[in-house]
């Protein structure tokens, strides 16, 4: 079987990693005897959070068990990682899931900052957004229109 449906395609990812790298170690036969390295995955959740961790287990609903998970917050060109530990994610909340290419991970133009800084940046961003929203709503109200509130709509 070459194509696997749904979460079955992730099965290979869970305990793999070594097979992709053996070619760098031609002659190092010892590599294959060791435990293979799992692959790091990036998960985007429905509420907008980005989680990065090692995928350890899945089931048919795409419920995921992520190990050594880090929540990555992006604001502009900066990002910050908050370590979270083990995550069990319910399948219905997953938007997308992808494997991280470890070699390319260092080539990002993004700048990593500390947690406090990124949280501060995020707060500032939320605030500016809120204010812009408020202005917009006010302007519409002046013209007699109204936008339905976000919490009465379906999320995302």
């Amino acid at each position: 079987m070459n194509y696997m449906p749904g979460t079955a395609s992730l099965i290979e990812d869970i305990d793999m990693g070594i097979k992709l790298r053996t070619f760098h170690f031609r002659g190092r036969h010892s590599a294959t005897e060791l435990n293979p390295r799992p692959e790091k995955h990036l998960v985007l959740l429905r509420d907008g959070r980005t989680l990065i961790g090692f995928l350890r287990s899945i089931d048919q609903f795409a419920n995921l068990v992520l190990h050594q998970t880090v929540e990555r917050i992006h604001v502009g060109k900066k990002y910050g990682d908050i370590p979270r530990g083990i995550f069990v994610v319910r399948g219905e909340n997953v938007v997308l899931l992808g494997e991280i290419d470890l070699e390319k991970e260092s080539d990002t133009p993004l700048q990593q900052v500390s947690i406090e800084e990124i949280l501060e940046e995020q707060r500032v961003e939320q605030q500016t957004k809120l204010e812009a929203e408020k202005l917009k709503v006010q302007a519409l109200k002046d013209r007699g229109l109204s936008i339905p509130r976000a919490d009465t709509l379906d999320e995302y």
Binding site: M1, N2, Y3, M4, P5, G6, T7, A8, I11, I14, D15, R21, H24, F25, R28, S30, A31, L34, N35, P36, R37, P38, K40, I52, F54, R56, S57, I58, D59, Q60, V65, H67, Q68, V70, D81, I82, P83, G85, I86, L102, E103, E105, S106, Q112, S114, I115
Partner: protein
């Protein structure tokens, strides 16, 4: 053992923050360690990594590997594959099947003639016996205002339910009649779809072909409603079916599958009641879809039958003031069918020498043609509908039966069309 070695190793090695203390405070130090885990150790690999670091990284056994056993993985795969299997992939997985066929065709073309063409990968689902699913909830119909389901937990309520909905006993009210016709059409569509499926799936082998014939026969019987012995009633129900747009598609689609005799009889009925059908088609404008399939069977008509059909069409029934021919000529389907029939008749006449002798049939035919020709000449060009297909032997036909003036008029009319 592994844990010890890890604790003593350099900062390059991955650290597992969770192992020692669960209530660890994730202060500013922690992220650095973690980021080293994720960012620094691995990017400097493979080429820039020093050999010692490589060794430590590689020889770090991952204690969390194989949390998911082989058995569990296979189980998940099995569950997902079992969901995908289907008895009729062409129906349930149409797009993937078509895509795969396209791929195979392309591969065939590219490696035309080569023996070892690359087999494109295909999703193959393992056959898993589906457990017989029982209905755990029984729904009761027609229980207005009462509990309508009977489950394992509340079976008794079913007894209190109202008995099955009584049959509608409306005498032929217009709306219910239309509903009845529509229901009949729906029921006939299913066997039609089955026949088309069977046809599409490939060359018919002897065994299923017999079965297919059977199905076609059944469909035809349903169309003609042969239970009723009265000829009038048969035509009536068939016409009712044809009066609805869906009914027209229902008749048009199986025409290629029917036996010639059956199709011819349908064709005759349609021809005889053409004005009525045209009148009823005013809103739908869907008669034209019948033209092509019917056209194929016109050539199967014998002269006598053709004459019968045309007579039924063109001779005025008592009490109707409107000229049938006019109505037919004004409608696109009508005019096309009429032209096709006349053309076929002309072919038959020219081919069959016995018909050249003056006999009753021949005179009737001549009268018919004259009638049509006069009508065409009389009508203003604007109201003549544009035929879907214009047979070439019509004008010569009219030529030999009419006088010159009339022919010229006709020529002018028909050329415009």
């Amino acid at each position: 053992m592994a844990t010890l070695s890890r604790k003593n190793s350099n900062s390059q090695a991955p650290a597992f923050p969770n192992t020692s203390s669960p209530a660890r405070h994730f202060g500013p130090q922690q992220p650095l360690l973690d980021s080293s885990l994720f960012c620094n150790s691995l990017p400097s690999w493979p080429s820039r990594l020093s050999s010692s670091a490589k060794k430590t990284w590689f020889q770090q056994p991952d204690p969390y590997a194989n949390l998911m056993t082989r058995k569990e993985k296979d189980w998940v795969t099995k569950v997902l594959m079992a969901q995908l299997q289907s008895k009729n992939p062409h129906l349930e997985d149409y797009y993937y099947q078509k895509y795969y066929e396209k791929l195979e065709k392309k591969a065939d073309e590219e490696k035309h003639g080569q023996r070892n063409r690359v087999q494109s990968p295909k999703l193959v689902t393992p056959y898993v016996q589906k457990a017989e699913a029982y209905e755990s909830v029984v729904r009761i119909e027609g229980s207005l205002g009462q509990v309508a389901v009977s489950t394992c937990f509340s079976p008794r309520r079913a007894i209190d339910a109202v008995s099955h909905g009584t049959q509608e006993q409306d005498p032929a009210a217009a709306s219910s009649q239309k509903l009845r016709v529509l229901c009949k059409i729906e029921r006939m569509f299913l066997p039609l779809l089955e026949i088309e499926e069977g046809q599409k799936d490939g060359l018919p082998q002897p065994c299923p072909f017999g079965q297919q014939d059977n199905q076609v026969e059944k469909l035809f019987q349903a169309l003609k409603a042969q239970e009723q012995n009265n000829l009038e009633e048969i035509a009536d129900s068939f016409l009712q079916v044809l009066s609805v747009r869906k009914g027209k598609t229902l008749v048009a689609r199986p025409l290629p599958f029917l036996l010639p005799d059956q199709a011819v009889s349908l064709l005759l009925v349609i021809t005889q009641h053409l004005p009525l059908l045209i009148r009823r088609d005013v809103t739908d404008q869907a008669l034209h879809m019948l033209f092509k399939p019917l056209g194929k069977y016109i050539s199967h008509l014998t002269f006598h039958k053709l004459l019968q059909g045309l007579q039924g069409l063109l001779l005025l029934p008592p009490g109707s003031s409107e000229n049938q021919v006019t109505v037919v000529l004004q409608n696109q389907f009508g005019i096309s069918l009429l032209y096709a029939l006349l053309s076929h008749g002309e072919q038959l006449v020219s081919l069959d020498s016995s018909l050249k002798e003056p006999n009753r049939d021949r005179t009737a035919w001549t009268d018919m043609v004259v009638l049509v020709a006069r009508e065409i000449a009389r009508m203003p060009t604007a109201s003549l509908a544009e035929p879907l297909a214009f047979p070439s032997n019509l004008l010569p036909l009219f030529c030999c039966l009419m006088d010159k003036q009339l022919v010229q008029q006709l020529e002018a009319k028909m050329e415009v069309v």
